[in-house]
């Protein structure tokens, strides 16, 4: 029946003032045991549920945090989101997730939406350059934290992963296990990929007699990896690299398929292989794939922490936290 009972209905039913009902809900200690029981009973009987819109209106702020990611289907982002949700829950807040799908109009749409919702703050993996919009948000009192993107600390905080270090770790591992002629597979036109390559080149530069060739792939997919892998198989054995570092796991899995398909190349004996991201499939590949793992839980958790810091400082103090990725060694790079 009751479309929805209001606090006033509860007050009438329990024969108390509206303020008392509110106190039962928000400051139970201020209310005597007797009346508290009576009010709670009325709440149960009427099926009262707090109207969050009214509460927010009065409070001037919501208990909500907006998160805009490039792709919820991507395990990296869904993991970050999950961690952020948990961290926010501990603070009594809720995370609303928006998926921009790499589309800046969708991104703008969610930014507007979250502003109308008066979110406490915004976590965002920006599609393009959003520094202007972020300045506007800050002026309006909405702190923002960039996710997976390094921020200018004059403007806002950020959490990101050191891609160059990840590339360094991968290449160093290959070198440490005795390989000297390396190959890098990926699309360096993407910023993150370029950093990973740069790190790899740094590691190679530290070892005399080591070299790395760059094989540009057509995309970041399994199929693109397979194409590159086929080219490698066609080469005469002495021209093949001793180790291949792929800028993501999908590429690596594609390369692995090509190399193992014809049985002429053994992994890791003839060619070692390492990927990036440590997706679920990496461990269950034909040859379990070594990879670089990004600390997604820490990213999500820290993003929420930085947001809290921003709120406390009134949006004046910014911090850029950079995480170091982690090397995960599996069979595909086992000792030469």
């Amino acid at each position: 029946m009751s479309q929805t009972a209001s606090i006033k209905d509860v007050a009438t039913h329990a024969q108390v003032a509206v303020g008392t009902v509110s106190n039962v809900l928000n400051y139970p200690d201020r209310v005597s045991q007797r009346t508290k029981e009576r009010v709670l009973k009325s709440i149960a009987e009427l099926g009262f549920v707090r109207n969050d819109a009214a509460r927010q209106l009065r409070a001037g702020q919501s208990r909500t945090i907006g998160l805009i990611v490039l792709d919820v289907g991507n395990p990296f982002f869904s993991s970050v989101a999950r961690a952020a949700e948990d961290a926010a829950a501990a603070l009594g807040s809720v995370v609303l997730v928006g998926d921009s799908g790499q589309d800046s109009s969708r991104e703008a749409h969610y930014m507007d939406l979250f502003q109308e919702q008066r979110v406490q703050g915004l976590l965002i993996s920006p599609v393009g350059d959003v520094s202007g919009r972020i300045d506007t948000l800050r002026e309006r009192g909405v702190p923002t934290v960039l996710v997976d993107e390094l921020a200018d600390t004059d403007r806002c905080s950020s959490v990101s992963v050191d891609d160059q270090e990840g590339g360094y770790l991968a290449a160093k591992h290959l070198l440490d296990t005795g390989r000297r002629r390396l190959a890098f597979v990926g699309t360096p036109s993407i910023r993150q990929v370029a950093s990973r390559l740069k790190g790899a080149q740094r590691a190679v530069g530290e070892v005399t007699g080591a070299s790395i060739e760059v094989l540009d792939s057509a995309g970041q997919t399994v199929l693109a990896g397979r194409q590159v892998g086929n080219k490698l198989v066609e080469r005469s054995p002495e021209k093949r690299p001793e180790a291949v570092f792929c800028s993501n796991d999908l590429l690596a899995l594609g390369v692995m398929q090509s190399l193992t398909m014809l049985r002429t190349v053994r992994i890791p004996e003839d060619i070692a292989l390492i990927g990036y991201d440590d997706i679920d499939f990496a461990i269950s590949a034909v040859v379990p794939l070594s990879s670089i793992r990004q600390p997604t839980e820490a990213l999500g958790r820290t993003a929420i922490e930085l947001l809290a810091e921003e709120q406390e400082s009134g949006g004046t103090k910014h911090r850029a936290v950079v995480f170091t990725p982690e090397l995960v060694v599996r069979q595909s790079t086992a000792g030469a």
Copy 2:
């Protein structure tokens, strides 16, 4: 500066009444060109953003729809969510996604949250039995649509996929291509898996001389599939099935790894293989994997449509829409 300008500030700045500003926003036709321009200019200058809490409070309902899924990381659900978001956007609504992670306390948490938000309606893939809670919601005017679960149409609407038909399609395809001794790999303790098996058995029953053996797997992962695959390889060739139907693609990929690893078995010549779900990896497997595709876009879109129907009928009319999955033929089941 402006923490946030209200409609009253805009009215003062533009020298009009608050009602006029509201009309500019909601009924532009009621306002003369001249004042409209003046008001819009003030809105821009003050950086006014509508406060959604106040709007909702007045309206008594939000423009928000709640969606609770079992796992956002699962491509099935992220695809359904995406489709629902798009369909809702066309109606001017927004979808809030909650991830229960198969945990009924998290599920309950989101149900409470969405109720406080006064969502227009709820789409849910329930963890356990939620019929009681759904009854309560209906009484309170929150229509609910079950997703990926068949509903009792006396209580609420639902969108689901006919798993038995999916199993039938898969087995029939294997039979149509000449295979007679089939095997089913999966964990029939899961409801959906049991239905798929039942459908497969129905198809086998229609063909004389055909048989299907059930291989219970330890889970639904690639590794579980590999274990089953290894057992198959150990058998003498004449005892191996001619075709294997796995209750999901991960299992199928695991089986594929085992079978192709030792090169004693060829896919599809010696053993045909088909999975279920048609995940992205299916097409880029070593041997592209045939599979059963679930119409996730249609599920999401229809869920929103049914919700709209519920709203129009005041929550009295319920409908259960069951979709038929689709067979996707690839190389792994190519003609014998």
